[in-house]
């Protein structure tokens, strides 16, 4: 599926420091067959308990009402939407890597795509719970879907929230299918290595009887290509539509056309940050040094540098436009962001999102895991603050008489923390039971995979 090296313009050095297909299989599939480690179980229990906390808090919310959160008038959206946008943003790297980099023939993506696709799916799950539960009457949330009913009433398809439902659910479904399809051959590999009956049985079911036939590979590659092709506009559309939740409104500070590109850039930014955060850990813990190599990390850092700078440009442009428009409400909205009640969140955002990625101009920083790790953490925090800053803009809009303040309650905080529990629960399960890299793809980008490969020109 990865085009032949000869038509790869970038002529990268080979991906894996190995020339033996079996060794690759061992490296990747091996860990999934070892017995559970104590640390892993402890971690799972920890994250699991946080997930339960989240579930419990949503139950509490359901029983008592939205009032258990800090939302009020005028700030009718609070942490729920902040977290939603943040998670969904994080969920953008996966599809981007598997789709766009694929189309751009970036074969190094193979080192990280499986991993980041998994992350995407779990992040979108975390995102999804918020819009579902933040509504006042969860039990009638089905009103939003265009279902025939005895009232002969239909949803308002002009509402950004209606678009949102479609965008997020589509994105989740497509990412999931994409991910699973990539897994099929690897599951087959694991099936054929399986030692126990049970394991083999389960893997046989999920690998759907894959036989690696050339005719299958042909359709498979075509499917993969088309999915990549449609996922590219999809991944761009999703965060654009999420940004419409704000951009189509009248609220000063929201009502701006710059939102879609700036949200997409921000999403990629935070997505990559989260990927490398997790990848750096996994790389150390599971010893993929042979596969996930420094220049992969470096590439991602370059991406963060780029997107981070775009985001910074967007911040500047927002302010310029607000001033240039001569609209007093817009002007005040931005004045207020930077110097008003919530100035600290604005400057936290600027520091983390605009300043910190600039360190990636230096090669040694880009190639230094410790620095990279710290910076990615900063970026994750910064992107959360970006969404906070945007949502909180509500507290001072047109009529000074209606201005108010927002303060999260303990429920807000612990629900947010709980979603991490959910994320890591699924992530740990993934790390343990599924191949963390696409075995077939890794093999396919090894020079040995080329039928016209001759040992003497190995690695040029």
């Amino acid at each position: 599926m990865i085009p032949h090296r000869d038509d790869d313009p970038t002529r990268r050095p080979v991906l894996v420091e190995s020339n033996d297909f079996h060794e690759v299989t061992e490296i990747i599939a091996g860990p999934t067959e070892t017995p559970l480690t104590r640390n892993w179980v402890l971690l799972l229990m920890l994250s699991g308990s946080f997930m339960c906390l989240m579930v419990g808090l949503f139950g509490y919310l359901f029983w008592e009402g939205t009032g258990v959160w800090g939302v009020n008038m005028p700030v009718a959206w609070g942490f729920a939407i902040v977290n939603f946008v943040w998670w969904i943003g994080i969920g953008h790297a996966g599809t981007l890597i598997s789709a766009i980099l694929f189309l751009f023939r970036q074969r190094w993506r193979t080192a990280i795509n499986r991993f980041s696709e998994a992350m995407t799916i779990f992040a979108v799950m975390c995102a999804g719970v918020f819009p579902a539960f933040h509504v006042g009457r969860v039990w009638v949330v089905y009103y939003i879907f265009p279902l025939p009913n005895q009232m002969e009433a239909w949803p308002n398809t002009r509402s950004p929230l209606f678009w949102d439902v479609f965008a997020v659910s589509t994105y989740f479904t497509v990412s999931l299918l994409f991910w699973y399809m990539g897994l099929i051959p690897d599951l087959a590999t694991m099936r054929d290595r399986a030692t126990t009956k049970v394991r083999r049985f389960i893997l046989s079911i999920f690998s759907l009887g894959w036989r690696g036939a050339a005719r299958h590979w042909q359709n498979y590659e075509r499917a993969y290509l088309i999915l990549a092709a449609i996922s590219t506009p999809l991944v761009l559309s999703v965060h654009s539509i999420v940004s419409f939740d704000f951009a189509t409104s009248k609220v000063p500070g929201w009502h701006t056309t710059i939102f879609p590109p700036y949200f997409v850039a921000g999403a990629v930014f935070s997505g990559f940050a989260m990927v490398s955060t997790l990848l750096i850990i996994a790389r150390e813990v599971f010893g993929f040094k042979k596969v996930v190599r420094l220049h992969h990390i470096e590439n991602m850092n370059k991406f963060m540098l780029l997107t981070g700078t775009i985001v910074g440009y967007a911040y500047a442009m927002e302010i310029f436009v607000a001033w240039y428009s001569g609209n007093i409400y817009e002007r005040y909205a931005f004045w207020n962001r930077a110097l008003g009640e919530y100035w600290w969140s604005y400057w936290a955002m600027i520091t983390c999102n605009v300043i910190s990625p600039q360190f990636f101009w230096f090669k040694w920083v880009r190639r230094n895991l410790v620095f990279t790790f710290i910076l990615t953490i900063f970026i994750n925090i910064g992107m959360w603050f970006e969404r906070f800053v945007i949502v909180i803009t509500l507290h001072a809009d047109f009529l000074p008489s209606s201005w108010g303040y927002y303060r999260p309650t303990w429920v807000d905080w612990w629900t947010y923390i709980g979603t991490f529990g959910m994320f890591f629960t699924f992530f740990l399960l993934f790390l343990k039971f599924l191949p963390q890299l696409a075995i077939a793809e890794v093999k396919a980008v090894m020079p040995e995979s080329n039928p016209h490969f001759h040992p003497h020109d190995k690695g040029h």
């Binding site: 939205t66 009032g67 009020n72 006042g136 939003i144 009248k250 000074p400 209606s402």
Partner: protein, 1038 residues
């Protein structure tokens, strides 16, 4: 007597499962019992199929929930078996589902106002003003609106208590009768009656009879905040206990000396209407009135002023004296005062002589068409002087009338009207001396509402036999031997006489919900009055007055709600010799910080402390709810070291970083001291602190407890409303104050548009125009707005509203009226602190100009019914969409609660049910609900709908009569109906003849946020001030 509402268990169940309570309701034996026995024959309401249905209606949102669960198909929830309980005999003229209106009278503190009360199948649900009653003219105050809440208040007293234990009337009479027999025998030696001032002629008759029966008994008529000073001043001037009535409609120049005639004074409803009439800028330079205000605090009248002079409390009289001197120096003779004025101490500092001169000029220029109004807190001398000036300026009989007051009918004989405070002091002394054997308190709470130094509470015990008749077990009722439950005014017959002499009958809407009596009835029992039930008492009294054809007359009175308009005798000018000494008795202007006490704008003297609507209604000026606070100006605040907490952002006008915690101050005065939360109020006089009365009650229901601080604890009977030599010190404690508007600056935004009369007359068109106020051009629509399917706003009836900022006084009556009409819940202090108050209609208040001496702007802000409504486009389920008549419909049962509509509402007038605020209601409280409006469930957005239920009622009535059009004025939203100044006009903007259409064409008319192209249906008339050019130029100079 089944007590439906005292069952906490039931309430708790409801709280847990609001929808379940429907079945409980329909099923409960208690309820059926209630339905069939609670009321005698016709008055039975709860039993009809109708009120059954409507009763369900109020639980609408709850049913919405059931409706959803019904998808599960579970039989029980799907169709709770409901019963239809028809009448045995149908009451005459009752059409189920069609509300009936009855005229009645509300009396308070010696004044009476005529009301119309709306009843649904016998349940009173809403109070309106009676247009044909001269003290109402169709308007109501917030207290009138909220009075309905007390009727259904589950905490009102319902049974006779002896020493706090449940007892019975029988037991009471068994014990009381011998006592009073004995007293009859000794002529009532040692018997004391305590009551408030009464405006009821029939009650006065009973009272006189009682005093004849017990000649040696004393009657203590006491109001914490009374008009004694007024009558005393008038007595000095006219030799009669009299009241000045002002005709502001005719007045071109008005001077208010600490007189809050737009809200706090008697007759304020009429005054607001008249003042608004005289305030018409289109009447030209000399047509529009001009208001000068001299005050120490900041009242809504001060907010309406063209020129406001801030003067320390003790200096206020001297400002008037200075004016009198000035007028004298211009050859105006002030009979009776001539000599003394010269002899008096010179101007107090802080009184600008330029200001006084300009004022004097203005008054001289407008002899016979000016008014000098003096506030009830001012000493008698000031009243005397003020009215004398009215006389000298030739206003008497033109803009001012002096009417003999009937409030003090006790001593109409001609001797000086006795002061309530003095008679209370006498009572205290008698109690001390053990001269009181029997104490009968009729609907009064002197223990709480009297200066601390009288220490009545500790003395009551010395009366062997003490009774308290009241609507709640208050501070007094808790101390007396017996407590008797009082009937609500909607449950009993009475009558009233307004200050202008207008008499009217008060008829009940329901028979008493509980086993209660009213004051006249109890007094009649005690004194052996020929009639014993309120109905007989009132009828007999008026039968005696009317004589022949009484029955016909009676029926007419009940129908009109008025017996005779006016009729109070004029009091002529005949200065008493004592007049001169009056002025000399005035204390000299004091140094240092002064403290004044004022009746709270909502709770008055505390009698409404347990009324949730009033507790949550923001104070008109401070916007504080659920509390009072020590109000000080920024400068004083600075010196106390509390300002930084409150004005740290005055650049943007934000009041507070942490908006919940306010600093506290220890106030020490008259030897008493109190720790109160402090609040910085721009516009207070220098070195002046103000604390409102009526808060900090101890024996009060759940609503009122822990609300605010008891100002009476600081008051001294020597001068109950002002104290000098006050010591204020900041203590390091913080206190949560729930303010509904954290921000007081307009930020230079063209929201409230005001200007001077001169500018207006110069170019009316330009005065409020977008060009002048809004340099940013309006956004263009992406669409051809003609293409709207079947929706064409040029066709049919199109509803719109105009609010005149020029006459709105900011009194908040509309807000409470809206709450009553639309079943709006109160949420409590905690939720208000979180910014979750539910009022559909706010009164925005802004300060403009200098922080020390600002001007006050009010702006009623409800849903603006935008034609291009931002809220609609973002709702994913179409729960808020447009109607063919241009209404922004809100469909509660479709709402899923994404709250996006509120985010996108530029006016933030939408309200969200963050919790199930409506599930705490007991069965009796539910009776209060307006059956035409769905009660909203948790998680649902709600907002103003222009009272669409009234529009629909009018439409159906019109259609049944075969007409398509609803006549102009046939629909008035609750806010417009309550508004005393008639500032809110509603109607069909497509009908060129309608009032609203005419106003929309007015040059002062403007809509908010035009640049958003939202086309609001509610527009405002810009405010015009009429400053005195002479002063204006100086102010510019300064």
């Amino acid at each position: 007597m089944p007590s439906l509402n005292l069952d906490p268990k039931r309430a708790a169940e409801n709280a847990k499962a609001p929808w379940k309570s429907l079945e409980e309701l329909a099923g409960s034996a208690e309820f059926k019992d209630f339905a069939s026995h609670e009321f005698p024959e016709g008055a039975d309401t709860m039993g009809t199929d109708i009120s059954r249905r409507r009763f369900m209606q109020v639980m609408g949102a709850g049913m919405a929930f059931a409706g959803v669960t019904s998808l599960s198909g579970c039989k029980g929830i799907r169709r709770p078996e409901q019963h239809i309980l028809p009448y045995n005999q149908m009451p005459e003229r009752m059409v189920p589902g069609v509300p009936q209106f009855y005229a009645t009278t509300y009396t308070l503190g010696g004044d009476a106002v005529g009301l119309l009360v709306e009843a649904h199948e016998g349940r009173p649900t809403k109070v309106e003003g009676n247009p044909s009653h001269p003290a109402s003219l169709g308007a109501t105050s917030k207290q009138h609106q909220a009075s309905i809440l007390d009727l259904y208040n589950p905490e009102r007293s319902q049974v006779v208590l002896k020493g706090g234990k449940t007892s019975s009337w029988e037991a009471f009479w068994n014990e009381a009768n011998p006592v009073f027999e004995a007293l009859k025998a000794n002529g009532g030696e040692g018997l004391r009656f305590v009551s408030g001032y009464t405006a009821s002629p029939s009650f006065r008759a009973v009272r006189e009879h009682a005093l004849r029966t017990f000649p040696k008994a004393k009657w203590v008529a006491y109001e914490a905040v009374s008009r004694d000073n007024v009558t005393a001043g008038m007595y000095a001037l006219t030799g009669k206990a009299a009241e000045p009535l002002y005709r502001f409609a005719k007045a071109k120049r008005v001077l208010s000396v600490d007189c809050d005639f737009l809200e706090a004074e008697a007759f304020n409803l009429v005054y607001s209407r008249d003042f608004a009439q005289g305030r018409n800028p289109d009447a030209g330079r000399d047509g529009m009135n001009r208001l000068y205000v001299i005050e120490s605090g900041f009242s809504v009248t001060g907010g309406a002023a063209d020129h406001r002079l801030r003067v320390k409390p003790s200096a206020v009289p001297f400002a008037l004296i200075a004016l009198a001197r000035e007028l004298q120096s211009r050859g105006l003779s002030v009979p009776g005062f001539g000599a003394d004025l010269g002899a008096l101490p010179g101007n107090a500092e802080g009184i600008s002589s330029a200001w006084i001169k300009a004022l004097a000029d203005d008054l001289i220029k407008h002899r016979g068409e000016s008014v000098i109004a003096v506030g009830k807190y001012q000493p008698a001398a000031v009243h005397a002087l003020g009215q004398a000036l009215n006389y000298s300026l030739g206003n008497l009989g033109k803009t001012v009338e002096w009417k003999v007051s009937s409030v003090h009918a006790l001593n109409a004989s001609g001797d000086a009207p006795e002061s309530g405070l003095e008679s209370l002091r006498a009572l205290a002394a008698d109690l001390d001396a053990g001269r009181v054997s029997a104490l009968v308190v009729l609907d009064a709470n002197p223990v709480y509402a009297s200066p601390a130094d009288l220490a009545l509470g500790s003395k009551i015990a010395s009366a062997k036999f003490s009774v308290h008749l009241g609507g709640e077990v208050d501070e007094t009722g808790a101390l007396t031997g017996w407590h008797l439950p009082l009937s609500h005014f909607l449950e009993t017959w009475s009558d009233g006489q307004a200050l202008d002499g207008t008499t009217s009958v008060a008829q009940p809407l329901v028979s008493p919900l509980y086993d209660t009596l009213d004051a006249a009835e109890v007094l009649a029992h005690i004194s052996g009055y020929p009639q014993t039930t309120s109905h007989e008492i009132v009828r007999a009294y008026w039968a005696g007055k009317s004589g022949l054809g009484f029955d016909a007359a009676w029926r007419k009175w009940l129908h009109d709600g008025v017996i005779a308009v006016g009729g109070a005798a004029d009091a002529g000018y005949s200065p008493a010799p004592a007049l001169a000494s009056l002025l000399r008795s005035l204390p000299a202007p004091a140094q240092g910080v002064e403290l004044i006490f004022r009746e709270d704008a909502r709770l008055l003297d505390g009698r409404f402390a347990n009324n949730a609507w009033l507790q949550e209604a923001p104070d008109p000026v401070t916007k504080l709810t659920w509390d009072n606070a020590l109000l000080v100006g920024p400068k004083l605040g600075e010196s106390l070291g509390i300002a930084p907490y409150l004005l740290n952002k005055d650049a943007t006008g934000t009041t507070l970083a942490d908006y919940r915690k306010r600093p506290m101050v220890r106030v020490t005065v008259n030897g008493a001291s109190l720790e109160v939360a402090a609040w910085i109020l721009p516009g207070m006089a220098e070195d002046t602190a103000l604390l409102h009365l009526g808060f900090g009650r101890v024996h009060v229901g759940k609503v009122g407890e822990e609300a605010g601080f008891n100002a009476f604890a600081l008051a001294n009977s020597a001068s109950p409303f002002a104290a000098s030599g006050v010591k204020l010190e900041k203590i390091d404690r913080l206190y949560s104050l729930a303010c509904t508007q954290d921000h007081w600056s307009l930020m230079g935004r063209p929201i409230v548009r005001t200007g001077d009369l001169a500018e207006y007359l110069e170019d009316p068109k330009e005065f409020a125009s977008e060009e002048k106020w809004n340099e940013h051009p309006a956004e263009q629509s992406l669409w051809d707005e003609k293409v709207r399917g079947t929706y064409d706003f040029s066709q049919g009836m199109q509803w719109g509203m105009v609010i005149d900022l020029n006459s709105c006084s900011g009194c908040n009556a509309c807000l409470v009226a809206c709450q009553s009409e639309n079943n709006i819940p109160t949420v409590g202090k905690e939720q208000v602190l979180r910014g979750r108050e539910m009022h559909w209609l706010r009164l925005d208040r802004y300060f403009t100009g200098d922080v020390e001496d600002p001007q006050l702007e009010f702006q009623p802000m409800g849903c603006q019914q935008c034609e291009n409504a931002p809220c609609e486009e973002v709702c994913p389920v179409g729960a808020t969409v447009h109607s063919h008549e241009g209404l922004n419909d809100m469909v509660y049962n479709r709402c899923v609660g994404t709250r996006y509509c509120s985010n996108n509402c530029p006016f933030k007038v939408r309200r969200f049910n963050f919790f199930n605020y409506n599930n705490k209601h007991t069965e009796t409280e539910k009776m209060r609900m307006n059956p035409d409006v769905t009660v909203r469930f948790r998680g649902v957005m709600e907002k103003c709908t222009y009272c669409v239920q009234r529009i629909q009622r009018a439409r159906i009535t019109a259609k049944n009569a075969g007409s398509e059009r609803i006549a102009d004025g046939a629909v008035t939203p609750a806010c417009g109906q309550a508004c005393p100044s008639g500032s809110i006009v509603f109607g069909d903007i497509n009908d060129p003849q309608s009032r609203v259409a005419k106003l929309k064409a007015h040059p002062r008319n403007y809509g908010l946020l035009k640049e958003l192209n939202i086309k609001p249906r509610t527009t405002y008339l810009a405010r015009v001030r009429n400053p005195n050019p002479a002063l204006a130029s100086q102010e510019k100079a300064a």
